[in-house]
Amino acid sequence: MIRLTTPITEEQIRTLKVGDEVLLNGRVVLSRDIGHKFMKEQKPEWLKPILENMVIYHCGPVVKKNEDGTWSFVAAGPTTSIREEPYQADVIETYKVRGVIGKGGMGKKTSEGLQKTGAVYLHATGGAGSLLAERVKRVVDVKMLEEFGSPEAFWIIEVEDFPLVVTMDSHGGSLHELVLQQSQDRAKALTV
């Protein structure tokens, strides 16, 4: 088990390999469909200090506003990452992002982006909304809440021992690619 704390250096990221189990600590920035389109097309400057050497989490949480005006996360598991495939590599490069958390894995373009910039794809258990929300210690801030709506906003959170597995590394390795090929071969055998 490898403990990582954001911000993360490129050097730290380059040591990670597919299959490594990671417990992530520190700040994480949530973004999904609208946010990724926005980042690729508009490249807002104000996000740069928020994202540099940080980790993006593909997640649209269930949130609760507390009486004192602060927010809590009620359920916060990963959403399917492949929808961000057209944007992810550019986002990683533009903002020097070191990690992307999601589920289901991503494609070739993202893998190339991970290799080029020095970043990893970290897989979280899909559907484990309550379990993962428990590891969210604090909601630090939220950007674009009015504009994007709560599931799509840039939530900035602090996590403690957030359980993840490296499924795509910065050297071109991908567990998803491997499982896909094996299952395709098996499917051929099943349908002769």
Partner: protein, 327 residues
Amino acid sequence: MSECVIPNLTSNEVVASKSVLPAGWKADLADLKNLDLSLPVMELLRRTTSRLPQDVIQAIVKGRDAEEVGSRAFNTLNDMVRNINLADGQVTPLCQDTGSVIFWVRHPFGLSQKATKAQIRAAVVEATKRSWLRPNCVESLSGKNSGTNMDPFHEHHPAIHFEEWDKPEVEVSVMQKGGGCENVGAQYRLPDAALGAGRDIKGVRKCIIDAVVKAQGQGCSPGILGVAIGGDRVTGYEKSKELILRKLGTANADPKMDAFEQELTKDLNTLGIGPMGYGGSTTVLGIMAEEMYRHPASFYVSISYMCWSSRRGTLSLAANSQPSYDL
């Protein structure tokens, strides 16, 4: 990390004690015109969003116990059981994607569908306010979120299907269908040359295998498949969803289809996709297939993929008794 987590759901008594319904609430089915379903439906949603059906939990545990102890597949299924326990204990959503909310209402003659629809919508709005449901209804082009789970254009969300029946009882089933698994559903038109799939059961089988391979872990495997053979583009998909209401482990009424389901489930679990696509032998928890009639020129195979967090439940209202919840 390798210990087997035991499913440990709160007792029905404790769940009932947290109900939003006033103690002793009973439905007056003699006065259908004034029946108000909003509170019992809210209670149904409180349960379905936080409490996985027993048959689904059993299937997940069975899958976990068949995986190698300490493997990624084992640990992932174990985490799923942990999440099930936690969400139930806290009464918080099992998954942040509380899904598109789909209702099936079965009712006797005399119930107003218009009034029922308004009551169900009110229940969904309130459940959203209480953070049991995430606001999951956005304008398609602008992406603007209505914030309430209501579709302001045409009232298409939540989807509500009505069926009048001859029984005196009223039943409301609900399914919370996540977007990730909805995206990996597929509809095939046979014959399909690329798949080499003809208009027969072998062809249907090829479609299902193809859909599961394409889905990989993206629909949050292990999944449950609803498969409608025939129908048209709309009725096929509609049926494929409704089929997922069937409990895992119950037999298909058609023995031939039952054998087909069981054999294919075994085969799909040799694909090696596993929980969340990490690899492993638990790729699907079950298949629910049904044959429909079709136009002679059309042969559709419609597949709905339900994630492992198969949130569904049924509320039953019988005369002069308290509402019962089956999930």
